[in-house]
Amino acid sequence: MMDMDTFQQKWAEQDRKLDVSIRLNRQLLMASNMTYVQSPLRRFAFFQMLEALAGVAVAMMTGQFIYAHWHEPRFVLPAVALHIWVIANVAASVRQAVMAVQIDYAKPIAVIQKQLESLRVLRISVIRWDLLTGQIVWWVPFMIVAFKSFWGVDAYRVFGETFLTVNMLFGLALIPLAIWLSRKFGERMGRSVIVKGLVTAIAGYNLNAAIRSLGTVSEFASEN
């Protein structure tokens, strides 16, 4: 019967043979280390910062709108909803960028894998809640604020309060409905990678998988 220690000896014998049998392609090695390839994590952090900057610009506009219509709650309320959503996204983007730049592959495996999985959990959660809540704030509240600030038009008068209220309620009802539909029919919703990605994000499947992976890393690092 062979146990791991016997295998270790066989492995060492094979290792000695590898010294002479492995050929490192020096040309490719030089090409690999001379080519400037931006780290995917750095690129991710860069785009998160760009997103945060765009968010800050939008938050400044909504802030200005709130200030200008402070005594008109019917305009302030949708603007506040939009403002909070944008600020929450700026905070999430900055947090993700900071987490990404802090990842140093030369650190111990348990530390880095935990950081990577935590970043993945955060990213998937943000995408999920952006999809679920974005369809509310970027529809009726955005329409009310945009009509008023760009054209000075009162959306309540143009569309009627009933129409706007029904749309808002429909958006809210869509959150549990979208989660239920994604879980129920997610597997059958076409073969498109994008559709599948959206459906699994809404259903929370990839979030659950990321949380499980994070749990595996934490369990590995624990003493038990």
Binding site: M1, M2, D3, M4, D5, F7, Q8, K10, W11, A12, Q14, D15, L18, D19, V20, S21, I22, R23, L24, N25, R26, L28, L29, M30, A31, S32, N33, M34, T35, V37, Q38, S39, P40, F44, D104, Y105, A106, K107, P108, I109, A110, V111, I112, Q113, L116, R120, S213, T216, V217, F220, A221, S222, E223
Partner: protein, 163 residues
Amino acid sequence: MTIPALQDEFQKLIEEHKKILYKVCNSYCRNRDARDDLAQEIIVQLWRSFERFDKRYRFSTWMYRIALNVAISFYRSESTRTRLVISDEEQLVQAVDAPESEPEEIAMLYRFIDGLDPLNKALALLYLDGNTYTEIASVLGISETNAATKINRLKNKMRHEMG
């Protein structure tokens, strides 16, 4: 140190430790194309971190950390990977002998490693490579006691599966 001098030193060290690259790639990918991609990603990451390498530490420990971290993240990563285009005939690290000529015991070992989760793969590889518990603990970021416990579990698993 100038960039060309740094590159020379880097290439020399990689040449000396090419076995680590070969074994990590072989343990995490048995498919040739994926293995090439992984080898490149490891080299790129090693080069990117090389300036910060503290020479008071062993190069092999540092290389293991980066190579294993990249290998574990390789398939988990959802982001699009940046690929350098390499022709079918060229490989970064290649065994002169065909993989089929691997002794049966080594092939069995790779099959056993294949069945492990990514973190235990790293543990098995470090143990088989003859690293001490202190070195294994340092690469993995766990305590020595924890490393010893996990190695014992691996040994039992191997006995159970291959005995």
